[in-house]
């Protein structure tokens, strides 16, 4: 069996009395693009800094290619990092920024020049080499920051929310470029973001973190289709998954607070009726304007985007339901519409959503 590119074993980290990472185990294989995603304060950046060697874990081991690197300084781990603010040295030209690290490694001048020129060509920043960071646009700085990571020819690239300072259009463009770069270079990349869209589009594997713990690890669609709990289900996907509370009888009869009653095919046996949360992706809900369907809801607001229509509705008991339709329909506020549900695409979470219950006959896309 080949060595893991990176392995984390029982990593914990405390700042004084506050523990921010509560024991993380993770293996990352060679050539993977792994995205750490989670809400702010979940410890994803801390975890990245622990991997980088900028901070030291309170306990646990970090292994690179099966070599324990806990006490190896950041610069000798063979990693390179792209920072959120890019951290370009403002007093150096782009060329000096790229070559500074290589000079510190006492590399021969010709080799430094070759690598800098290669990286510049790859990122199309050749014409910027003589400029200083202050003279560059946001996107150009981003490229230089990536270039500085590339010239080191590291085993693993670390990205700490690198796109959060860019405007929406540029973010989209850089997202594609980083994905292309990964395809081109084939290196292992670890990418931290709070944006689930970035996670879904770029990752080979997503690690969802919450409050210093891993909630779920898996391929993007796996996570989307089979979230292991309400948090992961709610975090991935926009608009957010709808959650309705209700009860589930052991025979599989779902009785929701909003009045919905539906049988589902449970994959496990329950001893007694239990509180549960029903998760409905907005795009799995059908609409009939005549009011026919499983339930009737009142339209509070709607957004017509052309290709899709988002309808924000409310049940009689006050629970809200967001519907996504891939078509244009005439709507007005306050109107009652009928909605239909597809039991094969339900997510049912036990209690307040700690755990997803197994369902038979799921129609995963």
């Amino acid at each position: 069996m080949t060595a893991h590119a990176l392995e984390l074993k029982h990593i914990r980290k405390s700042w004084g009395a506050v523990q921010v990472i509560h024991g993380i185990d993770l293996q990352i294989e060679e050539g993977e693009f792994v995205v750490f995603v989670g809400p702010s304060g979940c410890g994803k950046s801390t975890l990245l800094r622990l991997i980088a060697g900028l901070d030291d874990p309170s306990s646990g081991d970090i292994l690179l290619q099966d070599r324990r690197v806990n006490s190896v300084p950041a610069s000798e781990r063979g990693l390179s990092m792209v920072f959120q603010s890019y951290a370009l040295y403002p007093h150096m030209t782009v060329r000096q920024n790229l070559s500074f690290g290589l000079e510190n490694l006492r590399m021969a001048k010709e080799e430094i020049d070759r690598r800098v020129d290669d990286a510049a060509t790859l990122l199309q920043i050749e014409m910027l080499l003589a400029r200083r960071p202050g003279q560059l646009s946001g996107g150009q700085r981003q490229r230089v920051a990536i270039g500085r990571a590339i010239v080191r020819e590291p085993q693993i690239f670390l990205f700490d929310e690198p796109l959060s300072n860019l405007d929406a259009e540029l973010r989209l463009q850089m997202r594609v470029e980083i994905a292309n770069l990964h395809a081109q270079l084939g290196n292992t990349m670890i990418y931290v973001t709070h944006d689930q869209v970035e996670a879904m589009t770029m990752a080979n594997r997503i690690v969802v973190l919450r409050a210093g713990k891993i909630e779920q690890v898996g391929k993007p669609l796996e996570l989307y289709n089979r979230p292991c709990n309400k948090f992961v289900a709610g975090f991935l996907g926009a608009p957010q998954m709808n959650f309705l509370s209700g009860n589930l009888a052991p025979d599989g009869t779902l009785t929701m607070d909003c009045g919905l009653k539906m049988p589902v095919r449970l994959g496990e046996t329950l001893s007694a009726a239990e509180k549960c949360t029903l998760g409905l992706r907005p795009e799995t809900i059908g609409v009939s304007l005549e009011g026919a369907g499983d339930m009737t809801v009142k339209v509070q607001n709607f957004e017509q985007l052309g290709a899709v229509t988002y309808i924000y509705t409310v049940f009689a008991n006050g629970e809200t339901l967001t519907v996504q339709l891939a078509q244009q329909i005439p709507l007005r506020r306050g109107q009652d519409i009928g909605v239909t549900f597809d039991p094969t695409r339900f997510h049912i979470f036990a209690g307040e959503g700690e755990r997803a219950l197994l369902l038979h006959g799921r129609a995963d896309a």
Binding site: A52, A74, S75, S80, A87, P90, G101, N104
Partner: protein, 359 residues
């Protein structure tokens, strides 16, 4: 548009014409008065310093350096000359051939043998404008018995103290500030408090015991006795620390990822980025060291070859109480370097100190 509006408006567009109000008048008046108060004494000192000995010792208050013309008269030697105006209004250049009385013996300069009497009131000194360079050159070059002001020794000592002390101050203060601003370590608060305490300890209350310390280090009487004790300035550490706190930590982390040692991070990243604060400290340090007085007076007074310009000028002023023309000239000489620095860097100094926020 009235004439007054036209005359007092400050901007071209009549709609937006912002007239000089009373507040502006008061402000300009205040500034003009202040600048006069500052410049007039300095300029007056300068103007006086180029007057000749006689004009200075007789407190000639004319602006220009007038001095009486001296001519070499055959058989009489060097004589000051006077203008004699006779009753008809004709003027003639003469010299006094005898003591000044109501009727003074004078002779025309081109006819020294022909002595005649004229009333004293008809004689006016024959004056010309002459820059009295000897005020400067005598003490500096040691001419005319002026060997007590060894200008070049003093200048060297002052420059040495200023440059070396400033370099040391910049280096060690920046190192301390870097440690206090960019590292988390045990004792950081203690060190910070210690430095605040130093800020509040006036240097003059430790004069006596500092003298003992410097004596036992064996640097009393040498320039190092002036340089070393003042090299670590709390002001400098604070100024630099405040500035370095604004350098993002990510830059240092990027450099650490780039395999730079901590010292190299300091040298290649932190120092260049702190340049604005460093230059303010450099200017302050130059002013402090160049103008330093009491401590050098204690340490260096016994050895004239170690005097700085300030101490040299003080002893010189003390010795030559009446020879104001030399004192004034040497005052101007020691004022010139700092004035040049000021003129050269004035915009930078004022904005630098103001924006770095000396707090």
């Amino acid at each position: 548009m009235g004439l007054a509006t036209f005359l007092t408006r400050t901007k071209g567009n009549p709609d937006k014409a912002d007239r000089i109000g009373a507040a502006d008048l008061l402000a300009y008046g205040y500034l003009a008065l202040g600048v006069l108060l500052i410049l007039v004494p300095v300029l007056w000192t300068f103007l006086s310093s180029v007057k000749n000995e006689r004009a200075v010792s007789s407190f000639d208050t004319r602006l220009l350096p007038m001095s009486q013309v001296e001519r070499l008269i055959e058989g009489e030697g060097l004589k000051t000359t006077w203008i004699y105006t006779d009753a008809a209004g004709n003027t003639q250049e003469v010299f006094k051939a005898g003591p000044t009385r109501v009727e003074t013996d004078v002779a025309a300069i081109d006819d020294p043998a022909n002595v005649f009497k004229v009333p004293r009131t008809q004689l006016e000194p024959n004056e010309e404008i002459r820059i009295a360079t000897e005020n400067y050159l005598d003490p500096i070059l040691g001419r005319n018995g002026q060997t007590n002001f060894t200008f070049f020794t003093y200048l060297f000592n002052s420059v040495f103290v200023t440059v070396v002390a400033t370099l040391i101050t910049l280096l060690i203060n920046a190192m301390a500030a870097f440690a206090l601003s960019k590292y988390q370590f045990r004792g950081r608060l203690t060190f910070t408090i210690l430095i605040v305490a130093t800020l509040l300890i006036p240097s003059s209350i430790i004069l006596v015991s500092l003298f003992f310390v410097v004596w036992s280090f064996g640097i009393f009487g040498s320039l190092w006795g002036v340089i070393i004790p003042a090299a670590a300035t709390p002001t400098g550490v604070f100024l630099l620390r405040q500035y370095m706190l604004t350098i993002p930590d990510e830059l240092l982390e990027a450099a650490r990822m780039d395999a730079a040692s901590e010292w190299r991070i300091f040298w290649r990243i932190v120092l260049p980025l702190s340049l604005p604060a460093l230059s303010v400290l450099a200017i302050l340090s130059v002013i402090w060291r160049w103008n330093d007085f009491l401590w050098p007076l204690i340490v260096l007074i016994s050895d004239p070859s170690a005097h700085t310009l300030q101490i040299g000028l003080t002893t010189f002023s003390g010795e030559f109480d009446s020879q104001f023309h030399y004192i004034l000239a040497m005052t101007v000489v020691s004022l010139i370097p700092i004035t040049l620095v000021f003129v050269w860097l004035q915009r930078f100094i004022t904005t630098g100190i103001a924006t770095t926020g000396l707090k």
